[in-house]
Amino acid sequence: MRIVRNKKGQFILIAVMMIAIMIVSIGAVLHSAGTYYRYEQWEEYITLVEHIKFNTIRLVEISLANFTTCGNNSTGMHAYALRMYNSTLKDNLNQWQNDLRTAYPGYGVILAYELADGTNIDYFQGFASKWDETVSYSTANATFALNITSVGLTGFRFMATPLLSLAIVNASASTDEIIVAVTQEDEMPVLKLERDNFQVDGLNVTNVASSYDPDYVLVYTIKCDSNIPAAVTVRVRDHRGIQVIARSG
């Protein structure tokens, strides 16, 4: 009689056991959901994206440096023509697309690019330059879209717009000093330029010193070995190898 009465609790026991199993199952699911992101290699993918972006921008800088070196020994229209029809950036980026795939097999790295053409500063195949003026510059402009198919990343966009600008602030013929301002992207002054970074046509540079200027923030005073002529040509090459030539008078 007692055994028969106790049988009535069996269903409750089974129900409790099932609830316990359900709780444990839900716990296991929640645990795996919480730890999924820890084991997935997100950090590696982010580093990969950052690396490709960083070195692609550097490649544009290298190409711009190459572009500004082209026709370095030529002058006037010839130098202009050499630069004008320079396709270095396009060629390098085409190779870079393939080389990225070689370096990262299995990731599905696809880098698309678009070079600036026309616009307000006359880009041609991504490059633009205005030299032999009191304020001169060399610049490049390219827009990129990165896909990494293995992780489902599509359309990560970034731009590369390296720029080097040289302004002759003061070059009076009666002295042996030229004051110039050198700026890069976002009008930031270029720091730590030394004597080797500057060249003055027809004169030897004896010393270069930097100082604060209220208009340009930072200016360089180039001291030459003799008095400067009325029209003077100054060349500057920054740490990236990008060159600009400015002329006063």
Binding site: Y39, N55, T56, Q95
Partner: protein, 151 residues
């Protein structure tokens, strides 16, 4: 009367809940104390992550390309890697020209920490690749392959 009789099963229910609670508590506690064997999969991904970070940091500081493109500074590169990696991490860096990948260009100057056998004998050797576009005005891409093993 029926209600009173049904209350006799309540203790069993409470017993079962308590038993389940004790059982799962014991499991959780045992799991906390257990020393699980290291998984080669996670070990490799951890080393790969470390390798990517080291390359990225050195490159952002501008010293990676300077070291890689100046053969006289490969010794400095090995020294820099020894500093940034933990002492129990062995590494072997090989540098290839992208378009002539047959032989590493540093084959006569191994940039390595640890005996070569460490890398061949280990089951969990991580491999990280990195590409540099060039230096100054010249496009001359080089691929770096870094092998990592924890000692």
């Amino acid at each position: 009367m029926r209600v009173m009789r049904n209350t006799k099963g309540q203790m069993r229910v409470i017993e079962t809940i308590l038993a389940s609670f004790i059982f799962f508590s014991a499991l959780t506690f045992a799991n906390m104390l257990a020393v699980l064997p290291s998984s080669p999969k996670y070990e490799i991904s951890d080393l790969e992550r470390m390798g990517h970070s080291v390359f990225h940091d050195l490159d952002e500081q501008g010293i990676l390309s300077r070291f890689v493109y100046n053969e006289t500074e490969w010794g400095e590169l090995a020294f820099a890697l020894m500093i940034v990696f933990q002492p129990d991490v062995y590494f072997d860096l090989t540098i290839y020209e992208v378009h002539t990948q047959d032989q590493p260009i540093n084959q006569h100057f191994p940039i390595r920490f640890g005996a070569p056998e460490v890398f061949t004998a280990s089951d969990s050797t991580a491999s990280v690749s990195y590409i540099l576009p060039g230096q100054q005005a010249e496009y001359s891409p080089r691929i770096l392959i870094l092998q990592l093993v924890r000692g």
